[in-house]
């Protein structure tokens, strides 16, 4: 191992420790400073300090306590400086200083139950005041400990773009003078849905990534799952947090089966079910069960999870409970009317009543403006037409779908379907 390799290994080890400790550092500092963006900056400073000291002095015995002590010292310095500006801060600083002196035992700092604090931090990072992109970037940075460069790589955008989103989001937080607190009552459900939306966006960004792409993209699924698990342990009475976790676990359980060795997508019904991750399915089913026990069976995420559960529980594609899925889509339409959900319902209905019935629903959606550029509409239409033996119409639909698909693998796949349909025209 060269000294460069050693430096690199040390750097990675320090980052690993820091990522584990980071949410606790931010929450503790946020409580001291009442300023989340500032707290976030000071925890970054603690990382820089560790990167300076540990390679020469060695990793401390209790690295978490070291980081906490360092971060708190920075926060105290900050409050002392601010003392010139505001008497109120002086009082806080004195109190904290006294607290610090009375508790030299660093372990005590690690014993804090951070559940409520972490929840507060998540609610702040995902505040509806912030742009959706800003919320996603802040959550990945403050809750998952990803660096700006890592977030940029995961979302396939320039570093500067992410840096700018973070700066803007932090400025909005600082300027809005938001109370750093967990919302309650009517506000809670609005704020919670903003959090869940961010988590699901992060998950889907990772889920749509193809195998072999930059590994950080699929990693987004794990980050989203992790926040999802955090939410269910610190906000256990909210059925939709369990519903979302169930949806993510059940979807992620198919990861190994979703693509072939060359990275080509494999459709759900064609997947090798032996490759589905049974541990993850079990966790998803447990989460769905908890959502149902909390009277949340009809929630937006719980209903979607229930649909995926129908697939997860079917031993073979032929065992799939299509009437159940069609009914769940119909219920989902009442919770969140959307032409995309209706398109999915069409597929389920076609499995129960035949392709003709599905096509009737799809044809009603053809002029839907929201689906004008949505490649799955002509894709589903092509499937149903093909099954009905209307091969030439199917070919045209698959070609239209290929023209709309955003990623190359999907385009190639749809072109193959179009060619298949064209061959069928010739031989029929």
């Amino acid at each position: 191992m060269t000294s460069d390799d050693r430096d690199h290994a040390m750097h990675r080890s320090i980052l690993a420790v820091w990522r584990i400790e980071q949410p606790r550092l931010i929450t503790n500092l946020s409580r001291m400073l009442r300023d989340v963006p500032l707290a976030e900056e000071l925890t970054q400073d603690a990382l820089v300090a560790a990167l300076e000291h540990w390679p020469t002095a060695g990793v401390p015995e209790k690295p978490g306590a070291w980081l906490m002590a360092t971060a708190k010292r920075r926060a105290l310095d900050h409050l002392r400086r601010a003392r010139m500006l505001a008497r109120k801060h002086e009082m806080v600083a004195l109190e904290l200083e006294a607290e610090q002196q009375a508790m030299p035992d660093l372990d005590a700092a690690l014993d804090d139950d951070i559940g409520d604090e972490l929840l507060r931090l998540i609610f702040t990072a995902c505040h509806p005041l912030l742009s959706r992109e800003g919320r996603v970037a802040l959550a990945l940075r403050m809750i998952c400990g990803l660096t700006t460069e890592e977030i940029a790589r995961a979302f396939l955008v320039a570093d500067a773009t992410i840096a700018q989103r973070i700066v803007r989001a932090k400025r909005t937080l600082s300027e809005s003078g938001l109370a750093y607190e967990t919302p309650s009552g009517a506000e809670l459900s609005e704020r919670l849905s903003s959090v869940l939306e961010v988590v699901y966006l992060i998950f889907n960004e990772g889920y749509t990534a193809a195998r072999g792409e930059e590994w950080l993209r699929p990693q987004l699924c794990n980050e989203a799952l992790r926040i999802g698990r955090v939410l269910t342990t610190i906000a256990p009475f909210e059925p939709e947090t369990h519903g979302l976790l169930a949806l993510m676990e059940l979807n992620a359980s198919r990861t190994a089966a979703r693509t072939d060795a060359a990275g080509e997508p494999i459709l759900l019904l064609d997947q090798n079910r032996a490759l589905w991750d049974q541990l993850q399915i079990r966790r998803g089913m447990q989460a769905l069960d908890r959502a149902r026990k909390l009277d949340g069976a009809g929630g937006f995420y719980a209903l979607q999870a229930a649909i995926i559960a129908c697939h997860a529980e079917a031993g073979t594609a032929a065992d799939t409970d299509w009437p159940g899925i069609a009914a769940l889509y119909a219920e989902l339409m009442t919770v969140m009317p959307s032409p995309i959900i209706e398109l999915n319902r069409a597929v389920a209905v076609s499995m129960v009543e035949g392709p003709e019935a599905g096509l009737a629903i799809v044809d009603r959606l053809v002029n839907e403006p929201a689906l004008k550029d949505y490649h799955l509409l002509p894709n589903v239409r092509g499937d149903l037409l093909y099954k009905l033996g209307r091969y030439d119409e199917a070919r045209a639909a698959f070609e239209a779908a290929a023209g709309l698909a955003g990623n190359k693998r999907e385009q190639d796949f749809l072109k193959r379907r179009a060619a298949e349909a064209a061959d069928a025209v010739k031989s029929s």
């Binding site: 080890s13 690993a16 978490g64 972490l118 955090v230 610190i234």
Partner: protein, 117 residues
């Protein structure tokens, strides 16, 4: 990445002191809340278990009591983490508890990634 942690120590197993149990419980609680720990458990002594063994092409079931092996598995945990560095950082923190609360204790925490995609 999913990791299996296997804690091994020279047998026979002894009951950890209450302070150790408390510290482990706290760490486990923190890791569950952080969404990193998926599962964990301590194992009963080897003597109370059974072994199903294949030797010389024959399958045999050996029920306890056994002579304690030189090294026994005391417990395991399953974590979902980003990379090996994170996995090692977690193992260090867990093993540090043994240093703090069980002076004289010796053992190994084996960190193994799950095979998979």
């Amino acid at each position: 990445m999913r990791f299996m942690y296997i804690v091994k120590h020279p047998g026979p197993s002894t009951q950890p002191p209450p302070e150790m149990m408390e510290a482990m419980h706290k760490l486990a609680d923190r890791e569950i809340k952080a969404g990193r720990m998926l599962d964990n458990g301590g194992l009963m002594p080897v003597a109370t278990g059974a072994q199903v063994r294949i030797a010389d092409g024959k399958l045999s079931v050996i029920d306890g009591p056994f002579v304690e092996a030189k090294e026994v598995i005391g417990g395991y945990a399953v974590f979902e983490l980003r990379d090996k560095e994170e996995a090692v950082a977690m193992a260090r923190e867990f093993m540090q508890l043994h240093l703090d609360f069980m002076p004289g204790w010796e053992g190994t925490c084996e960190v193994r990634a799950f095979a998979g995609p």
